[in-house]
Amino acid sequence: MLRQRVLVLVLVALVALVGCGPDTTWQPAFDATEAGWLMNVWGPSEDERFAVGGGLDDGTVVRFDGETWAEDPSVPDTPLLNWVYGFGPDDVHVVGNEGTILHWDGSAWAARESPTDQDLWGVWGAAPDDVYAVGGTARGPDGVPTIVHFDGDAWRAVDVTVETENVAAFFKVWGTGPDDVWVVGDRGVVMHWDGAAWTEEKVARDDLVSLWGTGPNDIVAVGGRGNGIVAHWDGTEWRSEFAEPLPGLNGVWMREPGVAHIVGLRGTVAVFDAETFEITELTASRTVDGAEVREPLDFHAIHGVGGQVVAVGGNLAFPADPRGIAYLRELGDQE
């Protein structure tokens, strides 16, 4: 059975206090209460980041210019925006509910013609003319696991068959190149594109929600709705375990091989060692009425660039009053 060591990193905070290294404690990045849900964050540099989200009927983009975070008023009217990925400050793709696809060219947003009306949950590309988005309207009974592809000219539907029963959606896509693309989704299903064909494997007992990696032999997927799940691809096979005692996990980002920064429900932030399967739980806390409290809302995504990593989320179960959270911390050398 998996043996996991779950720690609260008090020492990290103490180290930071004496000024011996970067402050690796999680701190609120900005007051995101009024920003709506923040579903994902991505940026080409520490000074330029895009956080996307909003409410079910109202997609928003909040941008960081190196000094402040502010909602971009030029974003077209869209439903909820779920994911963002780009190739630089002037080539950014954003996808969202009801097949929404937006593109930022460095000066303006444009709504791209979408080949699907299914919700799109993830977007990633190997190159500016080789971009995938995945999704499926898992909110209702008519969800269809969906993959669409951008070839530099247009987005087109990808014909893919899923053998696993009751899969209503894919949730994220990530890869290492045009011939090594991974998709995770409902019921722990994982799809792989090797440049010639899609293959399917059921990796986990529950949904896999997100994935990231550092190379073709080091990919981490996370998920689980009630209980967190971590899975690792070592180039040969997937290994999947419950991330006990963590609740469901939504986001993962990696910089160093084998070191995955993971986030999830109820303020969960942690570091997952993909080799040992040990998890070190960190703490994201904020001050409420003069008292420091652990963040109670859900994290949905995490992304780092440069020496910083940002985690975002919100009160994801309350569509009537969407509120966001955004935290940031410095990365240590080996993270």
């Binding site: 469901g248 420091e292 309350f318």
Partner: protein, 771 residues
């Protein structure tokens, strides 16, 4: 009471070995089963009472019941021996998972029996694993909710590091320690109520808002979302001052459905009262120790039961004597159900708390055990050793163990059915009471019959192999025993549509709900017509039984010779007897009704009785036939025959009298009429006991002998106000809706009713309510 508490407290002295002071068992947590906990404030007691009302509420389709449902009230399952308790066997439900062990269907893996549009709910597509569940009692759950997760985690030994063969594991959800449910899969009382409300009733809800979560008897608001916390229940965690909760706030998402009722279908006030009531149910009060129970306790510890059925866990109020570690244990292949929940595997189950266990039979996750002795003998896996040690005891010592278990609360509330022990007989002439003309000397026989009517038949008594209820009372209990049944105990009948005509399948029309061998008894593969049959009340049937056949036949007009558009005809059996009971008037007498009910509803085989043809003499279970005696059947029939007819309740005689005239004017009395006994005594049942076609055009039902699939017996209207829901399928929650659903021969009357003024309609309804 103090003696009992001190006994339990003394037993908790083991903790002293750790060098910590032994926590005391709190004095103010115990009560009779179903009572409010003594520690409740006056305000909480008011909430508790309101919560009991919410629990007893019968939801209707108009309220939002469904579209998928098993139950129409929370109390339907949690009824033994009192509201808040466990479920009798007939309330068992099914969990369905697919081949990947994922739950299927819209209710989190619950297989619903009914669908508001499709009658019998088809088995969810993709079902691979079917598991049976018996509803769990709620006594003391507020105290369990208060337990710190650490109090449960402290006894976990997932890798059996101590080598004792017992390896309890923690289940979790959303990061919290699981503690409720057969697999400890649920972490909060609110979650344990909102989930089943939807999964079993189709009632949607919003999560309680933070301010109400914080006001619950066991607060569960997220820190940071409200201004305050509650001492002792939310504590600082470690040096960084992180606040954690013991009581989870899950689930957080609104639950919606696509029926016509606006979401949420339960108000936040009602949900608050329901959750609060559950949290405030007292811990079962143990009986004073006796030499026998103390000896049994010692044996219980000695043979290893207490390794999992840990006497107490430490909560903020003190030592809570629930006799469970709340951990998951592998119970072996015989108990395994193949259902994974959270971190629990298919053979793992939560150690069931034993407080109050005497009164919440049947036992184990699927209710397979009728007795505590049987339940112990089913234990396997990690509990195999304790079971074998129990089996190796002498008969006398095993009896002592049982005596000890029965001393843990509730024994004096135990009942063979749901009637409390020594329940008085209702007054003559009232609902549930005998007819006013019954001789006092017949009272013992009346009570004997009532006891048989109420008794839950055990598997060992012949219940099954397929059945709808495990007692007569299981379906007939509204407003009191002997009454009608809510929509959730509807019986399902099946037929096959061939050439535009519904025909009876080879296996018969009954589609049973429960099975001993097959968890969901199979139906005929070709069946494509399913018709629900609501449970009619028994009140007054003794009089109906005495109505001469000629009186019934006198009102026949099969060819509508009088041209009034109504063409009632009697259900004449092949042997010439005239049917009078049941939705198809297919049963000719109350005695046959007893035989028919025992056989077709309970699966109990009946003995030969001269002149009787109904009921099955044999079945294929292991119990010798017949499974009930003639004497018992006769007592049962006597009880039903002596039940008083519904008493008429007059509240506004002028209005009701006006309504009675209108009732005749619009033509209702064409079918809903009084009949008379041989001596001319009127029987105001408001039914001609004849068959009529009142179905919508093109609709098909299920035939029964000479009764076509579209024909139903005119439903008696006496007692109407107290015997909702209405119509043969129970789909009408109101009298108005029932009138509107009259078609065919009753179309003219329904249209005439609709054409009345509002005041006239109210007068007619007042008349009907007065019956």
């Amino acid at each position: 009471m103090n003696d009992r508490i001190h006994t339990i407290a003394a037993a908790a002295l083991g903790l002293a070995l750790t060098g910590c002071p032994s926590p005391e068992v709190p004095e103010d947590i115990f009560g009779d089963l179903g009572e409010v906990a003594p520690y409740a404030t006056e305000e909480q007691r008011a909430t508790f009472d309101r919560g009991l009302d919410v629990m007893a509420r019968q939801w209707t389709i108009e309220d939002g019941l469904g579209p998928h449902f098993n139950l129409s009230s929370c109390g339907g399952c949690h009824e033994r021996p009192v509201p808040g308790g466990g479920g009798p066997r007939y309330r068992n439900f099914l969990l369905v998972h697919d081949e990947d062990d994922s739950p299927v269907g819209p209710g989190g893996g619950v297989q619903q029996q009914f669908h508001v549009d499709r009658s019998r709910h088809p088995t969810h597509e993709g079902t691979s694993t079917v598991a049976l569940r018996n509803a769990i009692p709620f006594f003391g759950v507020g105290l369990i909710a208060e337990l710190p997760g650490e109090a449960i985690e402290a006894h976990a030994d997932p890798d059996d590091a101590d080598g004792d063969g017992i390896s309890g594991r923690v289940n979790r959800d959303q990061g919290f320690v699981g503690r409720f449910g057969r697999k400890s899969q649920t972490v909060s009382v609110e979650g344990f109520i909102r989930g089943p409300l939807f999964n079993h009733l189709g009632i949607t809800s919003n999560p309680l808002p933070p301010e109400l979560k914080a006001a619950l008897p066991v607060p569960s608001a997220l820190p940071g979302t409200v201004g305050g916390t509650r001492e002792g229940l939310i504590e600082a965690d470690g040096d960084v001052g992180v606040v954690r909760m013991h009581q989870a706030a899950a689930p957080d998402s609104p639950i919606t459905d696509d029926d016509a009722a606006p979401d949420p279908e339960i108000s936040e006030e009602d949900l608050f009262d329901l959750v609060s009531m559950s949290m405030l149910l007292a811990a079962p009060e143990p009986d004073p120790p006796t030499p026998e129970s103390e000896a049994g306790h010692a044996l219980f510890d000695e043979i290893g039961c207490a390794d999992c059925h840990r006497e107490s866990l430490e909560g903020p109020r003190g030592s809570i004597p629930l006799y469970s570690d709340l951990l998951l244990h592998d119970m072996g292949e015989e108990m395994a159900d193949g259902v994974r929940m959270g971190l629990a595997e298919g053979s793992e189950f939560r150690t069931q708390p034993l407080w109050g266990v005497a009164a919440v039979q049947p036992y184990l996750h699927d209710g397979r055990a009728d007795t505590l002795d049987e339940a112990i003998r089913w234990h396997g896996g990690e509990a195999q050793r304790a079971r074998e040690a129990y089996e190796a005891l002498s008969d006398a010592d095993r009896a002592l163990v049982i005596t000890f278990l029965e001393s843990l609360g509730g024994l004096d509330q135990r009942s063979p059915g749901l009637l409390p022990p020594d329940a008085p007989v209702d007054d003559p002439g009232t609902y549930g009471g005998p007819r006013t003309d019954m001789a006092e000397a017949d009272m013992p026989r009346f009570e004997q019959g009532r006891a048989i009517f109420d008794e839950d038949f055990r598997l060992s008594a012949g219940l099954g192999p397929t059945f709808n209820g495990d007692s007569c009372r299981a379906c007939h209990f509204q407003p009191v025993i002997g009454g009608s049944g809510p929509i959730d105990v509807n019986v399902t009948r099946q037929a096959i549509l061939m050439g535009g005509e519904a025909v009876v399948p080879e296996m018969g029309t009954m589609a049973h709900r429960q099975g001993v061998h097959a968890m969901r008894p199979p139906i005929d593969d070709a069946s494509d017509v399913f018709e629900l049959r609501q449970t009619p009340a028994i009140f007054g049937l003794g009089l109906v039984d005495e109505i001469p056949e000629a009186e019934i036949l006198a009102h026949e007009d099969p060819e509508d010779a009088d041209g009034d558009g109504i063409s009632g005809r009697a259900h004449v059996l092949p042997d010439g007897r005239v049917g009078r009971l049941g939705w198809k008037a297919n049963v000719p007498s109350l005695a046959e009704f007893s035989r028919d009910g025992m056989s077709n509803e309970l699966g109990v085989t009946v003995p030969d009785q001269p002149g009787m043809t109904f009921g099955n003499a044999t079945d294929d279970d292991a119990i010798p036939d017949p499974e009930i005696t003639v004497e018992e059947l006769e007592a049962l029939t006597f009880y039903m025959a002596q039940l008083a007819p519904p008493p008429r309740t007059r509240t506004d005689e002028a209005l009701e009298d006006q309504g009675e005239v209108l009732f005749a004017d619009v033509g209702c009395t064409g079918c809903h009429m009084s009949l008379a006994l041989e001596d001319g005594t009127p029987v105001p049942l408001f039914s001609d006991l004849l068959l009529h076609d009142v179905m919508p055009e093109g609709a098909h039902g299920v035939p029964d002998g000479p009764a076509t699939d579209r024909e139903m017996r005119t439903a008696p209207l006496w007692g109407l106000a107290e015997t909702a829901p209405y119509m043969h399928d129970g789909r009408s929650g109101t009298i108005e809706d029932a009138i509107a659903r009259h078609h065919g021969e009753a179309s003219a009357s329904a249209e005439a009713y609709a054409a009345l003024s509002a005041e006239e309609r109210e007068a007619l309804l007042a008349f009907l309510r007065s019956l």
